[in-house]
């Protein structure tokens, strides 16, 4: 019994292990616990963003505003705690709500105005980022530029259990929950249906609009969670926090096998994709590859990962053809 998921994640996991082995062999520091711990710390938030991004991409859409939402949520909690003096356990839920609202705005614009998700999320990316600067506590009260968040509840968000960072734990929980949603609930089934053939889904009575909004809500929520983790780590929220993260998230998702045309992919691949990206950069860093060459090398390795995936797909397609032939030859005997 051959499963499609198996092939994809097998290929990706295999590729990932090869990369890890190569770097471990070349750099003694790479294979230390400390380094893996850093990797997990440094890229778990990208993994969370990538998992969130999976949902809009499954619909054949995209969410370019995740970085901006991240900045917005971070700045919101920063302001709430340092300007208004609210405690962490109040600021945290409000931050999550802000992320959901931002996702809702994306979803509503796409569904009601029937606009292309690329354009909508590009616009909200700019608007949310502008909002971040506008509400920036550090701009309104320059003294806050040197003040750190000290709320213990908030700071506890980004800690570790020995060498295992909380961020990884959050990531694993989120990945498992979203995996469950995608494969075991009606919402997940509807998501795949809308992504695979929106018209068919609509004709079959699926509430397409609700499904779309749900996808962007999830993406926004994941951005919020990533924001909490990062601002807790930094004890502040820079205005530019999150700029460029959306590209890493999308890259991780695509490497993880989420098809940009919609309808196929899962949330476990993006996790691997995020760590693959992180591993490559960290590895190059430790090997002393000059910083100017790093993006080039990373690009080549990533093309390799995606290219390999395509190659496997093509091979599977040919095998399928052969199987169909066999099947039809056998059916011929029944007078087909």
């Amino acid at each position: 019994m051959l499963k499609k998921i198996n092939y994809q994640s097998f290929g990706l996991v295999g590729f990932y292990l090869v990369i890890v082995i190569i770097f471990s062999a070349l750099s003694p520091v790479f294979r230390t616990a400390g380094n893996f711990s850093n990797l997990l710390i440094g890229f778990s938030h990208i993994g969370i963003l990538a998992v969130g991004q999976t949902f809009p991409i499954l619909l054949g859409g995209i969410d370019l505003s995740v970085g901006a939402i991240l900045g917005l949520v971070g700045m919101t909690t920063f302001d709430l705690m340092l300007i208004f003096g609210l405690p962490g356990y109040i600021a945290i839920p409000i931050g999550l709500v802000v992320g959901l609202l931002a996702g809702l705005i994306n979803g509503l614009l796409i569904v009601r105005l029937k606009l292309n998700p690329f354009i909508v999320s590009l616009a909200t990316m700019a608007s949310f980022r502008g909002l971040v600067y506008a509400i920036s506590g550090r701009q309104l009260f320059p003294g806050l530029t040197v003040m750190a968040i000290k709320d213990p509840t908030y700071l506890a968000i980004d800690g570790s259990l020995g060498h295992v960072p909380y961020a990884l734990i959050y990531l694993i929980i989120i990945a498992l929950i979203t995996y469950f949603i995608l494969h075991n609930t009606k919402l997940g089934m509807d998501l795949y249906a809308v992504g695979g053939n929106e018209n068919a889904a609509r004709l079959a009575g699926v509430n397409v609009n609700r499904v779309k909004i749900a996808a962007y809500l999830i993406s926004g929520l994941c951005s919020a969670i990533a924001a909490l983790i990062l601002t807790s780590r930094m004890t502040t929220s820079p205005e530019g926090l999150g700029i460029g993260f959306e590209l890493s998230a999308i890259a991780a998702a695509v490497i993880g096998g989420v098809n940009m045309q919609g309808g196929s992919g899962s949330t476990l691949g993006p996790v691997l994709g995020a760590f693959l990206i992180g591993t490559i950069y960290t590895g190059m860093n430790l090997l002393g590859v000059t910083q100017y060459a790093q993006p080039v090398v990373a690009g080549i390795i990533l093309i390799g990962a995606v290219g390999y995936d395509q190659f496997m797909k093509e091979r599977r397609r040919k095998e399928l053809q052969a199987q169909l032939l066999l099947q039809s030859l056998r059916m011929k005997g029944q007078g087909g």
Binding site: K4, I5, F36, I41, T145, L168, Y179, Y192, T235, T282
Partner: protein, 346 residues
Amino acid sequence: MDEKVKRESAGFNRREFLKISALGVGAAALAACAPATPADVAPAEGGAQSSKQAKDSYKMTFVQVQPHTVSVAWGQGIEEVSNVQTNIEYKQVDGQGDPATQINLMDTAISEGVDIIFCQPADSVALGPSIKKARAAGIPVITLNIDAPEAHAAHVEMNHYFGAIDIAKAMGELMGGKGNVVILNAPPGIIIRDMRTNGFVDGMKKHHPDIKIIADQSAEWDRKKAQDVLSTILASGKEVNGVYGVNDSMALGAVDVAKTKDLIGKMVIFGNDGEKAALESIEADELSGTQYTDVWQQGRLAAALAIGLATGGISATSFTNQGHILMPYVIATKDNVGSIQAFQRW
């Protein structure tokens, strides 16, 4: 009878679940089991050790914000000095303008067990926890230009505040003591922005109270952005007699605009940093002046300090607050720019 053609199951796959849980647990287990740090340097947790043994070679890493004339020049200064020492490995890494990336780079450097970290924080507060971590691991951190609130080895900076006062003084003189000034500023949230701006404002107040600052807008340290911002302000019809670019790139952007609108000579433009391009512009009678700091020298001084600390075996845990080194500077204008030698122009 039906042929078992390839199946696709969108259903819950126990195997898949286990595989990924295993990966997650495996990663954690690997992290927990493998040896913690390289053998030579014993980590100074909580100040247990205040000195280290001498070593054969030392590693230094510079975590910059992103490649820029200033940080590249620092790197060159550092390398100049460290190359002459025996057995110093120096590496410069790119923070991509993002504090989160810088934190990750700091973490990596700490795991590598480097002996010195130079850091140009992209955000003062955000890098604080990382610096604290470095200190706990016994690694001295030297910050360049942008300080951070956690105690560390030293902070080597251009003289932002007082230099800005002197810029205001010189600029006001060239403006004849009156007129309108526009400030092309850095994005908010960076401490040197405030220092360079406050110095300028205080300086104007003290020396040339009749000069009015009519605009203070962010041009994001960037020459092109500065062109756009200034053009917009000029288009609004206000009279502008002076422009202060909080760094040279922005000031040069203002010069570009002045050239196209034929305002050279009518507008006094000052920058800050003292790059080669700015000095040449002063000599060409376009830029009116800048605060010149020998950035190579800044790098060399930082390196010297670092090498002393590293080879002297001083652990970071012994620092109670950071040392502070201010760089000497010169307000360079047409009169004195010639005295800045070629080997000083970075």
